[in-house]
C-alpha cells in the first residue's frame, strides 16, 4: 500500500482563476523521501495541504480528484478520525505551529499525545525520546514563546515526532534552523525513512536535497513537469526552464557554458564538486 496517493487532483483558491494544482497524480510509497520542487507559487505548498486534507477545509477553495493517506480519505470525517496522530504536517513559520497553551516546552511536546489520550507514562517516554532526538532536553523547562526561531522549529519537530507519525508532510519546515539544526533534522528525516515513514518535503535547497531525496517532483504552475531521481533533473535545462534551477555547481557550469560555449561544458551540468572536478580537470 502506498502511504500517499493523489489521483488527478485539481485545486482552485476562491477568487483565483488559474488552478493552484492542475491534474496532479502522485504516489509516494512508505520508506521514501519525495521532494517537491518549484518556483514560489508553483503549487508545492498547496499539494502538501491538499494531501493532508487541510485544503480546502482551512484555506477555502475547491478540490476535485482523489486523495488517500494510508488508505484513508483525509477529506472525509471518518478518514480524518482514522488518521488522527498518524500524519505530521509542518509549515514554514515555527511561531504559527505552537499550541499557544503550553507553559513549558515539555508541555508543548506532550500536547499532541495528550490530545490522543495516551496514558501519562507513555507520554513521558515519548516526550523524552523526541526531545533527545532533537537535542532540546535542556529547553524542556523553558517557555516556548521565549525561544529563538531555530529552537522553536526543533520543538515543533519534536512535538510531532512524539506521536511517531507514518507520514511527514514538510513545507519549508527547516527555514528557521541554523546549519546545526538542519543537520539534526536531516538525520531525523533519514531515520524516519528507515523506520518506514513516507516523507513529502517542499524545499528550495537543491544542494541539500540532491543527496537527501529519493525522488524529485518538479511543479510548474500547478502541473507536474518532472518526476524522477534528483540527479536526472538538477543538471538539466528543464530545472531552469520550468523551475528555480539546479544545484549551485550546476548553475556555475551553466554560467560558464553561456560565457565560453565549449562542448566540454554542455548539458547535463555537473551536480557537485566531485563531478565538476572529474569533468573539468
Amino acid at each position: 500500500m502506498s502511504a500517499v496517493e493523489l489521483e488527478e487532483v485539481t485545486f482552485r483558491y476562491a477568487g483565483v482563476d488559474a488552478p493552484a494544482l492542475a491534474g496532479v497524480s502522485l504516489t509516494v510509497p512508505e520508506g521514501t523521501i519525495c521532494w517537491l520542487y518549484g518556483s514560489p507559487g508553483a503549487g508545492a505548498s498547496t499539494l502538501l495541504l491538499a494531501a493532508a486534507g487541510l485544503a480546502p477545509r482551512f484555506t477555502g477553495g475547491s478540490i476535485t480528484g482523489r486523495v488517500r493517506l494510508l488508505g484513508a480519505d483525509p477529506h472525509a470525517a471518518e478518514g480524518r478520525a482514522a488518521l488522527r496522530g498518524r500524519v505530521a504536517y509542518i509549515g514554514a513559520v515555527p511561531d504559527l505551529q505552537l499550541s499557544g497553551v503550553a507553559g513549558t516546552v515539555w508541555e508543548e511536546v506532550a500536547f499532541g499525545p495528550a490530545n490522543l489520550r495516551w496514558p501519562v507514562e507513555r507520554i513521558r517516554a515519548a516526550v523524552e525520546d523526541a526531545a533527545g532526538r532533537l537535542g532540546i532536553e535542556h529547553l524542556l523547562g523553558r517557555r516556548p514563546s521565549a525561544l529563538s526561531g531555530g529552537e522553536k522549529q526543533r520543538v515543533v519537530f519534536a512535538s510531532l515526532l512524539a506521536f511517531a507519525p507514518s507520514v511527514w508532510l514538510l513545507d519549508e519546515a527547516d527555514s528557521a534552523l541554523d546549519a546545526e539544526g538542519r543537520a539534526v533534522v536531516a538525520s531525523l528525516i533519514g531515520a524516519e525513512r528507515e523506520r518506514g515513514a513516507a516523507i513529502v518535503v517542499a524545499a528550495e535547497d537543491a544542494d541539500a536535497m540532491l543527496a537527501a531525496a529519493d525522488r524529485v517532483v518538479l511543479l510548474d504552475r500547478g502541473a507536474m513537469v518532472f518526476d524522477g531521481p534528483p540527479r536526472e533533473l538538477l543538471g538539466r535545462e528543464l530545472a531552469w526552464e520550468r523551475g528555480p534551477g539546479g544545484t549551485s555547481i550546476a548553475s556555475l557550469g551553466r554560467a560558464a557554458l553561456a560565457r565560453c560555449g565549449s562542448v566540454r561544458l554542455a548539458e547535463p551540468y555537473p551536480l557537485d564538486v566531485r563531478e565538476a572536478v572529474a569533468r573539468w580537470r
Binding site: 493532508a52 482551512f58 500524519v87 504559527l96 497553551v101 490530545n115 490522543l116 495516551w118 506521536f163
Partner: protein, 225 residues
C-alpha cells in the same frame, strides 16, 4: 503546597458577592481589610499596593461625586463603594499572579470537561502579550516610515488606520495556519484529553471553599431575612 486552580476563582467570586451583600460601609471595609491581610500573609504585599494604585483614581472620583459635590450619597457611601472595588481588585490581582495556564487546563482535562472554554481563556492569555508586541512593532515600523503620531486630534485619528489595519489583517492571515497546526496535533476542542499532572483538591482547598460558601450564605441570610 499550591491551591487547586479552581479554588482562587471561587474565592474571587465569593469576594465579589460578599462585597455587595455585607452591610455598608463597615462590611465592605472589613472585607477589604481581610483580603489585603490575606495577600500580605501569602507574600503578595505588592499585589495590595498594585490594586490600591489601580483604584486610586476611582477613590478620588467617588469622594468628589458623593462627598464633595452636592447631590451625592455621602462619605459613607463613597467609602463602601471604594472598599468593594478595592477588595475585588486585590482578590483578582492575587488570582492572576498565581494563575498557571497549564494547571488550569489540566484541571479541566481531569474533569473530562470540554476543553473549548478553558482553551479560549488560556490561549487568550498567551495571545495578549504577543499581539501587544505586534502592535508595538507596527507602531515602530510606521514611525520609521514617517507616520507622525503627535499633532492635532484629527491627525492622530487618521494615524489609527495605518496602525490598526496591519494588526487586524496580519492576525487574520495567521488564523488558518494556527488552526491547522492544532488540528494536526489532534486538538478538536470537544474531545477529552489526558491530564498531564492533574492538580489535587487538598484539605486546605476544601476548607477555603467551605468557608467562602458559608460566609456568602450567612451574609445573604443576614441581608434578606
Amino acid at each position: 503546597m499550591k491551591l487547586h486552580p479552581y479554588t482562587p476563582f471561587l474565592l474571587v467570586l465569593a469576594t465579589g458577592l460578599l462585597a455587595f451583600l455585607l452591610p455598608a460601609p463597615a462590611g465592605p471595609a472589613a472585607l477589604y481589610a481581610v483580603v489585603a491581610a490575606a495577600a500580605v500573609v501569602t507574600g503578595m504585599t505588592r499585589t495590595v499596593l498594585a490594586a490600591a494604585l489601580l483604584t486610586l483614581p476611582l477613590w478620588a472620583f467617588l469622594l468628589l461625586l458623593h462627598a464633595i459635590l452636592p447631590g451625592g450619597e455621602g462619605l459613607a457611601a463613597a467609602i463602601a463603594q471604594g472598599s468593594r472595588l478595592g477588595a475585588v481588585a486585590t482578590a483578582s490581582l492575587m488570582l492572576i499572579r498565581g494563575f498557571e495556564p497549564s494547571r488550569f487546563l489540566d484541571a479541566a482535562s481531569a474533569r473530562g470537561a470540554s476543553l473549548s472554554a478553558a482553551y479560549l481563556v488560556v490561549s487568550t492569555l498567551e495571545a495578549a502579550p504577543r499581539l501587544r508586541r505586534q502592535a508595538a512593532a507596527i507602531l515602530e515600523a510606521q514611525r520609521a516610515r514617517g507616520l507622525r503620531i503627535g499633532g492635532s486630534a484629527a491627525g492622530r485619528l487618521r494615524a489609527l488606520v495605518p496602525l490598526t489595519l496591519p494588526l487586524v489583517l496580519g492576525t487574520l492571515a495567521e488564523v488558518d495556519d494556527r488552526a491547522m497546526a492544532l488540528e494536526v496535533r489532534g486538538f478538536g476542542g470537544g474531545q477529552a484529553r489526558t491530564p498531564l499532572d492533574p492538580p489535587s483538591v487538598t484539605a486546605r482547598d476544601r476548607m477555603l471553599r467551605w468557608a467562602a460558601l458559608l460566609a456568602v450564605m450567612a451574609s445573604a441570610a443576614w441581608r434578606f431575612l
